[in-house]
């Protein structure tokens, strides 16, 4: 089309668009007269205008982010809802808004809270939840639960209700602001328990207990709020009726393991959440430091990490940030938590140790059956403690945990547990003897050294021996922690003996690694790990301060800084992480200038440039990242020239080429990306040729092929991409054959196979895709067999089956297509659809959409058996409908991105097509 022609079309379009819809056709015909093509152009534009995706209307930047929590237009002051005049907005959730209001016809202003559904959020499901909350509140009459006063429907037809307005602050803030003692806090907490217990007696589970839902008034009266996702238990609800968490994502920090994992929620889940609230109120710390909000990560953390005892968590400082609902960040320190509670840290520790540790942790046990069996029992135990009576709660014994661990990991653990128990026993006996023998100086000294040696052996040798056993992580943590306890006390005795201090720093690093080193098997407690790393760092800083010229100590310090920096970057604190890495760089630049001949120092210098380059990619500063990668490149090329045969240098140079390639790709320089990746590839191919059995060289060569494939695929050079992925596949196959237990190889192979299938399918080579899709399925099934509770993998399997079903359908293989689809559907039905788990729901949408496509293909296939097409259209419709239901729900909750929102229209259109076709085929 020429610009001139376009001007003509544009002109007609603009004129016609200005007219009322019913006059457009006539005007259009008048305007176009004999020019049929002009008519068609304008008509299609009018049609497009009617459907124009609304996303263009919102600025592009907004599409680049999650739209969750994007505020809609709020009601302004003075607006009337029924007889209530809005004063201001006081709260807002995913679907509702709460306003402070006053009754218009009252002589003196009585303040109330009006809750109503957000405009545009009034889908059936939301309205149902809303009415549910209103019904629950209507049945309640309790001094510690906000009262329902009135309700109705707005002029727009949205339901609303009016509650008692609670003027107060969240319970944790209240306690801190007033500086309440532990006893006062416990008494207040017991009042909260009364409210929850009252709800339970009325067969209602709250399901979202957290400090911001417990407000305390100036007079010190607590009120429980927000039954928005509460659940009414019906007498028929037995063991089998899984209560799923409601519409809104519940607050992960307070979710019980069963809630987080989408299992049955009972009154004991509220006991758990109350336990978390009490934990925070007593200690000022959150029991978990969640480093991710991804639902399955949260579920895993909550299900696996044992919270630290309240009496010890109060010692932590520095990086454990807690974030309140408003995103305000507070950093609890030992001083701050003890000042607002018992005055001194020591007094607070004594107050918490024993009973309160046990009570709080009993409420928070992972298995509901081992918690307090009611809120009343929980509250009663607190009363017994307050009256100095013996409490019900017992320490979760080591023996119990050991037993649990063995149950969970029968096969692998026997040896490890044995080593562990013997060791701990041994260490304890030795220390005990050491204490008794204090009088005899020589013997005591020998004992001292024995313990030191043993603690180090436990930490390094024994720990390393069991490190790779499956399921060993929690034993590792105990081992390392216990060893550390002994080293700690030794260090206290030994004063500032630098050698011992160095050992201690190394020990803290170890503990950090076990607790949550990123990119390695760990307990996933990355903030806890950070605490340990920082302790190590502090010791090393002191060592360097005492002896600033010592190169080894400075290198140790640099290693510590680097660990902290990388950990911060991994936990999305890139900016702070970068500061640490820059300090490392500074140290190495100094060391390198002091000793220009020291190649080890220069080697490290290159490595830190590399680290910094990678770190800078995270915030997207590609130019600066590239600059650093190039600095690393200069050094590494120099090493290569000096030692052309040295494999270590060749490998690290290849890494730098890879990094430069990726950085260029991300800066839109595809040619440069390909060129650098090619250099990495050549180096790796040569390394691999020199040392053909080296698995690492094969693996990184595979990564280069994969990058090449990704770049080519992006450039739409599908055939070259395919060729690269085939080479990657050969390597994956070979690595898996060499080590069939290698989980990374299994997942790599599955992924590569699927990519090849997709690329072939893009080329229309459907018959060739089958073996690849089958291989991908096989690998997923292997992963699933090793982790049967991993629902994500099971949903990926259903995706893989749906893909196979779709492919068979395209090839006209009716029986296999139907069989794959059937299996995919069965899998989908077997995995609980937890509305709170967004990632899993996305996978469901994908599966149902693939299935819909498969059935459509079957129905419209030219060789479709007569009489079957109607069924296929209906099946397709059903699949699309299920997809649409989930999409709609996600959209209602504001979770979808723009592309997915447009998907709603696409799927809706498909349903209409299926309906039309089904009618025709009848």
């Amino acid at each position: 089309m020429t610009p001139e022609r376009w001007k003509q079309i544009d002109g007609v379009f603009e004129r016609v668009l200005e007219l009322p819809a019913n006059q457009r056709t006539a005007a259009l015909e008048r305007e176009c007269e004999a020019d049929k093509e002009l008519l068609r152009e304008v008509e299609s534009l009018l049609e497009a205008h009617a459907q124009a995706a609304s996303f263009i209307d919102s600025p592009g930047l907004l599409l680049s982010v999650d739209l969750l929590d994007w505020p809609g237009a709020a009601l302004s002051a003075g607006h009337m809802i029924g007889r209530y005049r809005i004063i201001k907005e006081i709260g807002r959730g995913g679907m509702g808004e709460v306003y402070l209001a006053a009754r218009a016809d009252e002589q003196f202003e009585q303040h109330v809270a009006v809750k109503l559904i957000k405009r545009g959020m009034d889908t059936d499901a939301v309205v149902r939840h809303f009415r549910n909350e209103r019904q629950i509140l209507a049945g309640f009459d309790h001094p510690h639960i906000a009262r329902l006063l009135d309700g109705g429907t707005t002029d727009d037809g949205l339901p609303y209700f009016v509650m008692e307005y609670v003027e107060g602050v969240p319970v944790d803030e209240y306690c801190d602001a007033r500086g309440l003692s532990i006893t006062e806090r416990l008494n207040l907490f017991r009042e909260v328990c009364e409210a929850v217990s009252y709800a339970h007696r009325h067969l209602v589970i709250h399901r979202d207990i957290k400090p911001s839902n417990i407000l305390v008034s100036d007079e010190g009266v607590p009120k429980l709020l927000d039954f928005g996702i509460a659940k009414i238990l019906h007498p028929g609800d037995g063991e089998t009726a899984a209560t799923k968490t409601g519409m809104r994502l519940m607050t992960p920090e307070y979710a019980s393991p069963e809630q987080a994992q989408g299992r049955q929620v009972t009154t004991l889940s509220d006991v758990y959440s109350l336990g978390v609230v009490l934990y925070e109120v007593l200690t000022g710390h959150s029991p978990y430091r969640l480093c991710s909000r991804e639902p399955h990560e949260v579920a895993r953390a909550i299900g696996e990490i044992e919270p630290q005892r309240p009496s010890t968590v109060i010692d932590t400082r520095d990086v454990e940030q807690t974030r309140d609902d408003n995103g305000k960040v507070t950093v609890p320190t030992p001083e701050s938590v003890s000042r607002t509670r018992e005055g001194s840290l020591e007094r607070l520790r004594r107050r918490l140790r024993g009973d309160l540790d046990n009570i709080v942790l009993m409420a928070m046990r992972k298995e509901p059956a081992r918690r307090y069996q009611s809120v009343e029992q929980f509250s009663e135990d607190i009363r017994r403690h307050l009256e100095a009576l013996p409490v019900l709660a017992r320490k979760d014994t080591l023996a119990y945990r050991g037993a649990k661990f063995v149950r969970r990991n029968r096969a692998a653990v026997a040896a490890a547990a044995l080593v562990f128990l013997t060791l701990v026993g041994g260490v304890v006996a030795t220390t005990w003897q050491a204490g008794r023998a204090k009088a005899a100086q020589a013997r005591a000294e020998r004992r001292f050294n024995d313990v030191r040696k043993l603690a180090n052996a436990v930490l390094f040798d024994y720990h390393d021996a069991i490190k790779d056993l499956p399921g060993a992580t929690s034993v590792r943590e105990r081992l390392v922690k216990d060893a550390l306890t002994y080293l700690d006390s030794l260090a206290a005795e030994a004063g500032d003996d630098p050698a011992l201090q160095r050992e201690l720093a190394a020990a803290y690093d170890r503990v950090g690694d076990v607790r949550g080193q990123v990119r390695a098997a760990s307990l996933g407690d990355s903030a806890g790990a950070m605490g340990s790393y920082l302790k190590a760092l502090r010791i090393r800083e002191a060592l360097v301060a005492a002896d600033p010229r010592d190169a080894q100590k400075r290198r140790d310090l640099a290693a510590s800084l680097r660990k902290v920096g990388n950990q911060l970057i991994e936990t999305s604190e890139a900016a702070r992480g970068l500061e640490y890495l820059r300090r490392v760089l500074q140290i190495y630049i100094e060391l390198a200038s002091e000793r220009p001949e020291d190649s080890a120092v220069r080697y490290e210098l290159a490595a830190i440039y590399n680290d910094l380059g990678l770190a800078l990619e995270v915030p997207g500063d590609m130019a600066l990242a590239l600059e650093h990668h190039r600095k690393a490149l200069a050094l590494r090329e120099e090493f290569m020239t000096a030692n052309p045969e040295d494999r270590r240098h060749r490998r690290s140079l290849s890494v730098t080429y890879e990094n430069i390639g990726r950085t260029l790709f991300l800066s839109d320089d595809a040619a440069g990306a390909l060129e650098n990746n090619q250099k990495a590839l050549a180096l790796r191919a040569a390394l691999s040729a020199d040392d053909p059995t080296n698995a690492d060289y094969r693996r990184i060569l595979g990564i280069s092929y994969q990058n090449n494939g990704d770049f080519r695929a992006w450039l739409k050079d599908t055939r070259s991409a395919l060729e690269s992925f085939r080479k990657k596949l050969a390597i994956d196959e070979e690595l898996l054959a060499a080590d069939p237990a290698n989980a990374q190889a299994v997942s790599d192979l599955g992924y590569t196979s699927q990519r090849i299938g997709d690329l072939l399918s893009e080329l229309g080579e459907h018959s060739q895709t089958l073996p690849y899709y089958r291989r991908a399925l096989e690998m997923l099934e292997k992963i699933s067999a090793g982790a049967p509770d991993d629902l994500i993998t099971r949903l990926r399997i259903s995706n893989a089956r749906a893909t196979l079903g779709r492919t068979h359908a395209k090839l006209g293989n009716f029986a296999p297509a139907l069989e794959e689809c059937r299996q995919a559907i069965t899998l989908l039905q077997e995995t609980v659809d937890d509305p709170a788990n967004v990632e899993r729901r996305r996978l469901r949408v994908l599966s149902y959409t693939y299935l819909g496509e498969a059935y459509v293909t079957l129905a419209s296939h030219r060789r479709a058996p007569p009489g079957s097409t109607g069924d296929h259209w209906r099946a397709a419709r059903e699949m699309y409908r299920r997809s649409l239901d989930i999409l709609q729900d996600l959209s209602d909750r504001g979770i979808l991105d723009s592309e997915e929102v447009t998907e709603i229209e696409v799927v809706a259109r498909k349903i209409a097509e299926c309906d039309a076709a089904a009618r025709k085929s009848r």
Partner: protein, 192 residues
């Protein structure tokens, strides 16, 4: 790296508005970096802050980089024109990174030196829009610029009108046409 001085950037802007094409070449990377930095900051903060306003973002960058006492309104319009183009580049390459990560699933698995794994992020539908916009620009550059300002820079109808030197009503009308055209183009893209 230091942030280039305001005086320097202002001079470049003034020189470019005065017809010096070379000044633009030097200006672009500076503005690009600042926009990118601010965009990244906004994207990171987005979960905490409940107010993300793209207009504010471009304005913020303008205020940071340019000494307003020394530039005319034409220069301001020029600046926003450039900023819109650059925002487009930033967002599109951002979407591309996300897209690559999403398509790849496990892609961008990089070799560990002491490496850091990139976490896959979510994709957006910007890329299709960008493709369509390239075609619209060829046909109707004026509407192309308008879409850049409205969509990529997040400017309001009034702000866009001011910068293009037309009435808000014209912007509104052209916006309807551009939207329809892009929608049609993007749907066609799907069908192929």
């Amino acid at each position: 790296m230091t942030v280039p001085s305001r005086t320097h950037i202002t001079e470049l802007l003034v020189a470019w508005s005065g017809g010096d094409r070379g000044a633009l070449d030097r200006l672009m990377p500076l503005v690009y970096n600042e926009l990118r930095r601010q965009a990244a900051r906004h994207l990171r903060r987005e979960r905490l802050a409940h107010t993300l306003q793209p207009t504010a973002l471009v304005n913020e960058v303008y205020l940071r980089l340019v000494d307003q006492r020394r530039v005319s309104w034409q220069s301001r319009a020029h600046f926003f024109g450039v900023a819109a183009q650059l925002m487009r580049r930033i967002l599109v390459s951002h979407a591309r990174v996300r897209g690559a990560a999403k398509r790849g699933g496990a892609a961008h698995r990089l070799t560990l030196d002491e490496g850091v794994a990139l976490s896959p992020q979510r994709d957006v539908g910007l890329l299709a829009l960008d493709d369509a916009l390239v075609k619209l620009e060829a046909l109707d550059p004026e509407k192309g610029r308008m879409v850049e300002l409205r969509f990529f820079s997040g400017l309001s109808v009034e702000e866009t009108a001011e910068i293009l030197g037309v009435s808000p009503r014209t912007v509104d009308r052209q916006w309807q046409t551009a939207k329809a055209w892009l929608q049609r183009e993007m749907t066609r893209g799907e069908a192929h």
